[in-house]
């Protein structure tokens, strides 16, 4: 039974709230890009401009429909509230008529019917239960399902599940994907696999949209894997280079590790959550919320699913694939990091939040696995971003760090803050990635900040301005969206009671969050400075010679850094080694749009405390995106805390200030310097050791490649080989030898003696008898006659005797 029907049944005579057409037919969102994929793949090369307009048009259509769906959702959400409101009124009237005593209260209620929600809430708390329902007027998610097949009484359903979260994700994914499509028409122009690239871009978007609107977990897993497949195809787009192909494989295989967790977790959910066995996400969530599900089972499921989140969303210690995924074309990186791939894990947590809420005891415990994973990730990502020379890798580690933030927020119970951060992060991170692509486009397709960049501020004004806006947003300066979402997360940790209304009180994690905020500001300052300030270092050899000298420590990274995007150079690069200049409108356009959105997203979730802004404008994000109803736990929301905001701003300012001081010193050394000749790493052994650890990425790749893989390839493989040779082969050989012996015995004693003996004996007997009888057969007729007469005489004799 669909929740819509449940809702209608509960509300009795209240009008059934019908959802808009797009909400009921959300399959159209993945379907459009999928059609674009098919058309581009099969007919793309024959279409004008090798098929890229198909993808752009499809995504534009998806985006427009997404906007329409958002409108329909807001309308549906409002009408659901009105219906619930009307029902509550009705219940109140009925109750007061019955008792008579509370007639005064009812009158008061009627008088204030038109006043604000806040006052309504106050009145209702006096009346009791009914008030809750209005305060959290539940808005049923729009589900439409169709049975795919059924087996053993279990219905495998496909369908769509649309609520505020899905609508928000559709908006983000279709917008970013549209901009990436437009951007790519210029960026990979003239590429050898241009059509193929666009086809997979569309499929990537389609699978992510399919994941978003998934109604059941089977569908969810399918789309999840499709996303992984597309990322593999796109990261390895320029597979001719070994490093790119390795990076694609690494991304795919690392994700496989987490996918095992996903499968196991989902299987656990299937068997334990819900009345009987169900694949429906809403049913699972309802069952968990209602508290009928074993807590242990949910803990197991949540931990297994957390593994999937760690691999997909690049959480420590499965994040290693994410920076290597920079081997793909830059627009793909933007798509992966902002909208499609890495947010899938965060989206899953948000989607199945009751499972994590209950399994990890988010509200009740002072500590849980998810917040720890998120916090470690955010620190690791933030610290690694400092030592990268490759601008995309800085951004990649920044993504790791920001994803850690989201996961930490989800672990703290700050659901809305996490999802809001996902929303804002999508815009400024896409802006930064596309900006870095624009920069590299101008700098002869290099991503090396120290070698080929610097001084681009004047040469690329639009890219510079948008990149600066993205940097400020990421670093968490006010007026930009990143500040507000980050602040919500920090408040959501509830550390030191600085913010009211948080679900827990995670002091340590507030400190980590603040520290990361400072680090983010510092490494983005570094990145910005190296890229846009100073003098352009490209084309100059004097500063780069010794720089590349101490580079081999970066092992995997270095090859990728210099290798990727090199292929695009062949097709269109008329300017060759010339001076960098601003990119074309198809590249700067998306940048401007994203920078604007980075600013506008601020207004999506204005804190409740800002009373100078009208009621209807505050907390709109929380109001429409956060699920309300029996399939979502009741969470409280941390209030905006000026102290936390001031602290995070101070951290950002201090850290970026330190970075600025450092680079001013660097500039004093010379126009082309990129680091202090006698910096802390050369003077202090501890700092040098720390730098080495960071440069080697905490030795994680070494751990995976050098220890785990080497152990499996070396001692383990040899041991297993020995085991195979000695034990398994021994068993097989022994079985062979023994059965041969048994066969031999059987042959000798049973077959030869008994069976052949019987056959030979019967033959011999017949032969002997024949030999004896042949003597009578003389062939002489007279002898026969003599015998006959003799026998006749004998018979006659016998007859004569017998008769007498």
């Amino acid at each position: 039974m669909s929740p819509t029907l449940t809702f209608a049944a509960e509300s009795g005579e209240a009008a059934v709230v019908t959802a808009g057409w797009l909400l009921r037919n959300a399959w159209i969102f993945p379907a459009i890009p999928f059609c674009s994929f098919l058309i581009t793949l099969f007919f793309g090369k024959r279409l004008p401009q090798r098929g890229s307009p198909v993808g752009v048009a499809a995504l534009a259509l998806t985006f427009v429909l997404g906007l329409a769906a958002a409108g329909q959702w807001i309308s549906y959400s409002n009408r659901s509230e009105d219906a619930a409101h009307a029902e509550t009124e009705h219940a109140l009237v009925g109750a007061s008529a019955g008792t008579g005593e509370s007639a005064a209260a009812t009158a008061a209620e009627d008088d204030r019917g038109a006043t604000t929600e806040e006052e309504d809430g106050e009145v209702h708390t006096q009346v009791g239960e009914a008030a809750d329902e209005e305060e959290h007027a539940s808005v049923a998610p729009v589900e439409s399902t169709r049975t795919w097949w059924q087996s053993g009484g279990i219905h495998f359903e496909v369908g769509t599940l649309v609520d505020g979260l899905a609508i928000m994700m559709i908006f983000v994914v279709s917008l970013v994907s549209l901009l990436v499509h437009i951007y790519s028409t210029d960026y990979v122009h003239g590429d050898i696999r241009y059509t193929h690239y666009f086809a997979f871009l569309s499929l990537f978007t389609a699978s992510m949209l399919g994941l978003i609107v998934s109604q059941g977990i089977v569908q969810f897993i399918t789309c999840w894997e499709l996303v992984g497949l597309c990322s593999f195809a796109l990261i390895g787009h320029w597979w001719e280079e070994q490093a790119n192909s390795d990076a694609a494989l690494k991304a795919f295989l690392t994700n496989r590790v987490g996918d095992m967790g996903l499968l196991i977790g989902m299987i656990v959910l299937f068997f334990t959550a819900g009345d009987g066995r169900t694949f429906s996400i809403v049913s699972i969530n309802q069952a968990v919320v209602s508290g009928t599900v074993s807590h242990t089972a949910m803990t197991v499921a949540a931990l297994c699913l957390l593994a999937a989140v760690m691999s997909k969303s690049g959480q420590f210690f499965l994040h290693t694939w994410l920076p290597d995924a920079m081997a793909g074309p830059t627009p793909v990186s933007a798509l992966i990091h902002a909208a499609t791939m890495v947010v899938a894990g965060v989206y899953m947590v948000a989607r199945l939040y009751p499972v994590f809420w209950d399994g990890l005891s988010i509200a009740g415990s002072s500590f849980n696995m998810m917040v720890l994973v998120g916090a470690v990730t955010t620190l690791v990502g933030g610290s690694l971003a400092f030592v990268q020379r490759d601008i995309k890798r800085v951004l990649a580690y920044s993504t790791v760090s920001q994803l850690g933030y989201m996961v930490m927020a989800l672990g703290c119970g700050a659901w809305t803050a996490a999802v809001f951060h996902l929303f804002t992060h999508a815009f400024f991170k896409a802006c930064l990635f596309l900006g870095s692509g624009s920069v590299s486009h101008a700098c002869n397709h290099s991503f090396d900040m120290k070698k080929d960049m610097g001084g681009l501020r004047k040469r690329m004004p639009i890219t510079h301005a948008t990149f600066l806006i993205g940097t400020l947003a990421l670093a968490g300066f006010p007026l930009f969206a990143g500040f507000w979402s980050k602040d919500e997360i920090l408040a959501g940790t509830g550390g030191f009671n600085l913010a009211e209304g948080a679900n827990g009180s995670y002091h340590v994690f507030l400190v980590i969050g603040l520290l990361t905020a400072g680090m983010t500001a510092a490494y983005m300052t570094r990145c910005y400075w190296l890229t846009f300030l100073g003098e352009w270092r490209g084309g100059h050899d004097h500063d780069t010679g010794h720089d590349t000298g101490h580079q081999p420590a970066m092992a995997v990274g270095a090859a990728v850094a210099t290798g990727h995007d090199a292929h695009a150079a062949g097709g269109h690069d008329a300017h060759g080694h010339g001076e960098p200049h601003e990119s074309g409108p198809r590249i700067t356009g998306p940048l401007v749009v994203l920078a604007t959105l980075t600013f506008l997203a601020t207004f999506a979730n204005i804190p409740e405390k800002f009373s100078f802004i009208p009621e209807g404008w505050r907390l709109r994000f929380e109001h429409y995106v956060e699920p309300r109803g029996d399939y979502f736990p009741t969470i409280s929301h941390a209030e905006f805390a000026p102290a936390v905001a001031a602290l995070s701003l101070a951290m950002a300012a201090i850290f970026s200030g330190v970075a600025i001081i450092y680079y001013r010193k660097v500039r004093a050394q010379g126009a082309y310097a990129t680091e202090l000749a006698h910096g802390p790493t050369t003077r202090n052994a501890l700092a040098a050791a720390g730098y080495r650890v960071l440069e080697n990425k905490f030795y994680l790749d070494w751990l995976y490649q050098g220890v785990i893989v080497a152990f499996i390839k070396g001692p383990l493989a040899r041991g297993i080989d020995r085991f195979n040779q000695v034990v398994l082969d021994g068993i097989v050989d022994g079985a062979g030898i023994n059965s041969r012996k048994a066969g031999d015995l059987l042959y000798r004693y049973v077959d030869q003696a008994v069976v052949d003996g019987a056959v030979n004996a019967s033959g011999l007997g017949a032969s002997e008898t024949g030999g004896m009888l042949r003597r009578f057969q003389t062939g002489r007729i007279q002898q026969y006659a003599a015998l006959m007469f003799g026998a006749a005489a004998l018979l006659a004799g016998v007859l004569v005797i017998a008769v007498q």
Partner: protein, 99 residues
């Protein structure tokens, strides 16, 4: 009293016939000896028939004569075939069926 004489003649003829069948090497002679045996039987049949006053013995003897004629026909044909193959009708040499 007179029956005995006939039976004795028949027995004598039979014995001569048996001797001829067993002792003669000429195929034709053997066939003739078989005729003697059959005629010894005929004498007995007719003697018994006359003794009992019925005609059955004589009818039976006629049948025997008819069968004997057919038998001689077949027998002589075989002897002729043997002669053509081997240029002899000596039965001692005709032992192809020796086991």
């Amino acid at each position: 009293m007179w029956l005995n004489q006939f039976l004795l003649v028949g027995a004598a003829l039979f014995c001569i016939g048996v001797y001829g069948v067993l002792a003669r090497r000429n195929g034709v002679m053997v066939l003739m000896s078989i005729e003697l045996i059959l005629n010894a039987v005929n004498i007995n049949l007719i003697a018994f028939g006359a003794f009992n006053g019925t005609i059955a013995g004589q009818v039976f003897a006629l049948f025997v004569i008819a069968v004997a004629a057919a038998e001689v026909g077949v027998g002589l044909a075989i002897v002729l075939a043997i002669y053509r193959n081997r240029s002899t009708i000596d039965l001692e040499t005709a032992n192809l069926m020796k086991g």
